[in-house]
Amino acid sequence: MLRYTLLRILGAIPTLLLVIALAFLMVHAAPGGPFSNERVLPEHVEEKIEKKYRLDEPLPKQFIRYVSGLVQGDLGPSYGYRDYDVDELIAETFPRSLRIGALAITLALLLGMAAGTVAALRQGSWLDKFVMGFSMTGLSIPVFVVAPVLVLLFAVKLHWLPAGWTSQTGISRYVLPVITLALPQIAYIARLTRASMIDVLGRDFVRTARAQGLGTATVVRVHALRPAMLPVLSYLGPAVAAVLTGSVVVEEIFGISGMGQLFVRGASNRDYTLVLGIVITYATLIIALNLIVDILYGIIDPRVRYR
């Protein structure tokens, strides 16, 4: 398995390089530049700034300089936040986004799997219909609608929770952003678990377990849950990606200083280095998580062999 892991890590390097090259090309191909604005700069000032940030060099040269800096762990200065380097901005915002994302995924796994299992066991009952109805709703209402509605209800009307991230400190400010992010994932995981659980519950080994006189709880816990989890596990990779993209909207609505809102700002300001730095962070994260999921797969399903 160690050999497999190492090979996978090596294999990730060209993928990452490709991502960097594509992202680099795309940000530079977009019209405008980091220093263009409705207040047009005098030409000599624009030239001066471009020279200072070496934006006047030919693109291939800029790319090589960027990658060689990257190898030494230098993501460059931010063009949009002129008092900061990109690595400082990522170090400031990434942990916050990660924390909210991790909480959302954990919540989604716990609630989604519990709801899906219950629905599968009571297939066709009102409980099943409720869970499925809820998950359909959860999936079809976009984050940018859910968030303001939750804020209106819990912050503006009931005053139970803060409407914004910077208004309070402590755990209460996590509640609304995390629920907003988790909601569609809870819904999706519940549907996945239900379908897979129904399938597993109909298998021969479950019938055998029941024939031996085991109760439903034991059958589910000891025998059915593990195989039923496999589709959920493979969904984790896409789920993380969905939470990351969802965080862009959630962070803007709640005013969270996370990497998502920084990404949006970077893209609209043509802050090349910031956008590239965040793309690299996202890409590394997704590659790493996919690897972890594949390894976990083998732990949960002993039939999987690594080569």
Partner: protein, 536 residues
């Protein structure tokens, strides 16, 4: 069981992770909470360019002059000044006991250093042209002569002398702009370009920087060394970065903000009914206009067509039914309410709707178009709900009155900007201009030939000459007449369609005192206070 254990571990891990976070400063209980529609790109006052950064910088720093809550120019770091008879020499007397937030004295040399840094080509400052009226400034910023030749000097610690190349009656107004604030040379010596960060930034205004969480929060606290500290009522100010206007409104509704930066267009009517006196709407020095690309057909050399299109727009209907937040319709380029100026109006402003449309149709035919041969034209605007509504309204007005077939193209803002600047594919474009200071010059100068902000590429020798004559004029009355004449000339050429003037829109909690509406939309935190508890 193993799987459950893994899940349990995940949960514990996530829980711990969330709780282990270091808290951001929330400030004392009576902190002023303000909304900021986008984060400051920098708090280095020479490199900042957004209006939002300037709002924060006016709390942090102080120039020679400032503004009162209601927008009157008042002495700030300078307690008094004299202007020579020819209007070329300004002598400022600094207050006694001016101090930086670290206790160092503020001396006239720091103002000299600040202005030199502004015009120094090495700084590449955004507002480098702001002080181009100072002797030698233009040559210095072009890199021709050293910065030490700038016409600003400090004969002693409390006297500052500024020499201008040409008289500019509005010059004194410029000295409230954050770009003209002094610098603290030891900070720059120690931290170089990165001096404007929490823990490093030394400021000379009523507040100092306590924290800055990028994209989220800028926190200020009282500067005890400020000369007028006794008059500062509020101890701490938090600027919450809220890109989405609805999110900002919800925070205000939840009681988490005292002042909003705007009001969402869709919620405006509801907000007006619900909040009444808390809503402050006030005219601004800011015009919303449509420009013609004058370098290409169909608008190049086609005055009749430009005038017809301008006349076919019902501005009253536009501001009342489409924009609807109390904006005044624009019949001039310079907004009303600007100092020492009476904007001339478009020739058709007094016509009845019927006459105006009749004349527009006549001009349209004269320009060579008709029902069988209609003008097909593209309107470009940056993606935004209000811009879209305006474009749809104008499209329909042009169609109804003239039969023009307009195509609407919305573009991401950098694409729109690039197209507008290149003037290759654009025909009609949406744009706006915010005045930098309270003088007609800030609006009229951008339409001079060769100005970078001259988006329609308007070129008229008479106009340029009138502007130059006005610039050389030291008599305010003569200067005003020349500027008005220049605007009249420009309006008759119809390089742009003035549509309306912006209004500022803020929600201000009733417990805030000292708020004043003003055309510049400057609201210094130091002028505000909380109503005393128990009072009525």
């Amino acid at each position: 069981m193993k799987t459950l254990r893994i899940l349990g571990l995940c949960l514990v891990f996530a829980g711990l992770y969330a709780c282990g976070e270091a808290d951001e400063p929330a400030g004392p209980p009576d902190t002023l909470q303000r909304g900021l529609p986008t984060d400051a790109e920098t708090l280095d006052h020479h490199k900042a360019r957004s209006l939002q950064a300037a709002d924060v910088l006016r709390d942090l720093g102080e120039g020679l002059v400032g503004y009162s809550a209601t927008g009157e120019l008042i002495p700030a770091a300078a307690e008094s000044w004299e202007v020579s008879d020819d209007g070329l020499r300004y002598t400022f007397h600094l207050r006694d006991g001016l101090r930086w937030s670290n206790g160092d004295p503020v001396v006239a040399d720091h103002f000299v250093a600040g202005m030199r840094r502004l015009v120094d080509p090495e700084t590449a400052a955004v507002y480098v042209d702001l002080l181009s009226g100072i002797e030698n400034a233009a040559a210095i910023s072009a890199g021709d002569i050293p910065v030490s030749m700038l016409g600003v000097e400090a004969p002693d610690d409390r006297t500052l002398v500024i020499r201008l190349a040409q008289p500019a009656p509005y010059f004194i107004n410029l000295l409230s702009n954050p770009s003209t604030f002094p610098i603290h040379p030891p900070s720059i010596a120690e931290h170089g370009d990165r001096f404007a960060r929490p823990g490093r930034l030394v400021s000379n205004g009523a507040y100092k920087l306590a924290a800055w969480v990028p994209g989220s929060l800028i926190a200020l606290t009282r500067n005890e060394h400020y000369w007028n500290n006794a008059a500062t009522a509020i101890d701490a100010v938090n600027y919450h970065v809220l890109v989405q206007d609805t999110a900002e409104l919800n925070r205000y509704r939840a009681g988490e903000l005292h002042i909003t930066s705007t009001v969402p267009p869709d919620a405006f009517a509801q907000v007006r009914n619900q909040y009444g006196n808390e809503l402050h709407v006030s005219p601004q020095l800011n015009i919303y206009y449509y420009g013609f690309n004058l370098t290409k057909p169909p608008f190049k050399d086609n005055l009749a067509l430009r005038q017809a299109l301008s006349m076919a727009v019902d501005r009253e209907e536009l501001v009342e039914d489409v924009v609807g937040r109390g904006e005044p319709p624009a019949y001039s380029w310079v907004p009303p309410g600007i100092n020492n100026y009476d904007p001339p109006r478009l020739s058709f402003s007094s016509l009845s709707k019927n006459d105006r449309e009749q004349r527009a149709r006549h001009l349209y035919r004269q320009a060579g178009y008709s029902e069988d041969n209609p003008l097909r034209v593209q309107i470009r605007f940056n993606t935004n709900a209000t811009h879209k509504k305006v474009a749809v309204a104008i499209q329909s007005m042009w169609l109804d009155v003239l039969g023009v077939e307009a195509e609407l193209i919305n573009e991401e803002s950098q694409v729109w900007l690039a197209n507008m600047r290149e003037a290759e594919v654009t025909q009609v474009f949406r744009a706006s201009w915010v005045g930098d200071y309270n003088d007609a010059h800030t609006f009229l100068s951008i339409l001079q030939s060769g100005n970078g902000m001259n988006m329609p590429r308007y070129e008229n020798e008479d106009y340029d000459e009138l502007m130059e004559l006005a610039a050389a004029q030291s008599d305010p009355k003569q200067r005003r007449l020349l500027l008005e004449e220049a605007e009249r000339k420009m309006l008759s050429d119809h390089p742009v369609i003035p549509l309306y003037f912006y209004v500022s829109k803020h929600l201000v909690k009733p417990e805030i005192e000292g708020w004043g509406d003003n055309v510049l939309d400057y609201h210094y935190s130091q002028h505000l206070s909380f109503k005393a508890a128990g009072g009525d």
